[in-house]
Symmetry: C2
Subunit: 252 residues, 2 copies
DNA sequence: TCAAAAGTGTTACATATACACCCATGT
DNA sequence: ACATGGGTGTATATGTAACACTTTTGA
């Protein structure tokens, strides 16, 4: 025991602080044109063997947090350069059977099509689960997932992150369905269209859907540069829908 | 080296994972009726001795994250039951001179008056710094502070958290000043008043200011129960002010 | 009487909401 | 022909933004 570290109310050997393990867990969301899904794998650790769990791994000592998240994501999905943001750190003392393992949760948004392509030749242990049909998960992963879903629901109203879940070219109705799945509510078609188009962040591709059993829709893509410019000028992306009400005079 | 832990692409002794240190840093915001402030102390660690730093400490092995944050806050301010929320985890590999110390940053909102009362008889090493006059801080604390300030600016528009910085009874103008300090912008008095009163979350105390060199204002307090009820009914607190603009037809 | 903040309304404009029908395509 | 989603407009209600003067108090 060498150097001492003075934390003001106790004096302890420096070495004795270095006894935590850290892991990174990714909540990987995807959208299959019908509903929001989460990518889960089967746990291999006692006492959770066989139970579904988020994808995650231990952090390496010399590894940056974001790098670990990207590594884990690539390992499980084959995908790089994916939307990936730190969400929250979960550290309940008893959350892990091996000891004090604190985990840093990330949210990832991926295009399921890309995932399917990149995992074609992988031993693929992961499965997409409908967001409303999540089983009991290993560790505290139900908590983590719930928190991250809430985060996503908030974020999707305040920033144009939903596009990370859609193919490059998409129809306005697909975008609307995405919002409906995430937020779990119906949205009026005309109002949605009006609002999203008035934002000037979608650009028509001058293409239409092919081979659909109905009138083919125009395809659009998200113009990130335009969004950035607007944002710099103080404009803020907001999508809210009439689920809320305003306070009435007579309380609630 | 006993148990092995299979993380799928490497096999490593379990013990070897438990070599991280964790700390908790609190960004403590306060408001002195004129401007937003942050509580800083002088660092005692090489190579930052004498430099200002956030208040923080090492996490103990058997300590919950929130408990550590509360402990640190109480140790430095004497205050309990303070607004305190996890903000983000910072873990750059080279951020700490002692090794891989990952820190979990918390935001605290305190009433400076309460702080002054509770620290009267403490050896008081902490000082309030004006948010626009932050010196170079120890470690990566400038990053952390910047991030947390951004977080606060966002949060204050979406949830009624500002009240945690005000005394129990306050005037509407004080509330407005608070918003102006945090957001760094002027707000129209009549519009602010109209909006905040229409929310029905303030209740008049039937008291007025005493001994002020101007017409004394009515005092209000925040009715948290009413806010909760409104929120349950789907209503959302939002305060935004005309800094933003809407996208124009001809790009930006 | 001065300084400082309290308090108060209206108008113009922009945005949000509610709502129903015909169109184009594949099967 | 039918099922499916594509695509469109308007009227109304609500919310936001801009703006100036009188009042009350302590010094």
């Amino acid at each position: 025991m060498g150097v001492k570290y003075n934390t003001d109310h106790f004096l302890q050997s420096v070495e004795s602080y270095f006894n935590f393990a850290l892991s990174v867990d990714c909540v990987v969301f995807g959208f299959d044109n019908k509903s929001l899904k989460v990518l889960l794998i089967k746990s291999k650790m006692e006492p959770y063997i066989g139970q579904w769990s988020l994808i995650g791994d231990m952090l390496q000592t010399d590894e940056e947090l974001d790098a670990a998240a990207n590594r884990i994501l690539e390992y499980r999905t084959g995908l790089k350069n994916v939307f990936l943001k730190q969400a929250k750190t979960f550290g309940r003392v008893d959350r892990h059977p091996l000891g004090r393992v604190v985990t840093i949760a990330y949210v990832a948004l991926v295009r399921i099509k890309d995932y399917e392509i990149s995992t074609e030749n992988m031993q693929n242990e992961a499965h997409w689960h409908h967001i409303n049909q999540i089983p009991e998960l290993a560790f505290d992963h139900n908590n983590i997932l719930e928190y991250c879903l809430e985060t996503l629901r908030k974020k999707v109203r305040e920033e144009p992150v939903g596009f990370a879940l859609l193919p490059d070219k998409f129809t306005i109705f697909e975008l609307q369905s995405l919002y409906e799945s995430i937020l779990n509510e119906k949205i009026d078609k005309r109002n949605f269209r009006k609002k999203i188009l008035s934002m000037q962040i979608l650009e028509p591709c001058n293409e239409t859907q092919k081979g659909v059993p109905h009138r083919p829709a125009k395809l659009y893509h998200f113009n990130r540069d335009k969004y950035k410019k607007l944002k710099q000028n103080g404009w803020v992306f907001t999508l809210k829908f009439p689920s809320g009400s305003k306070p009435s005079e007579n309380g609630v």
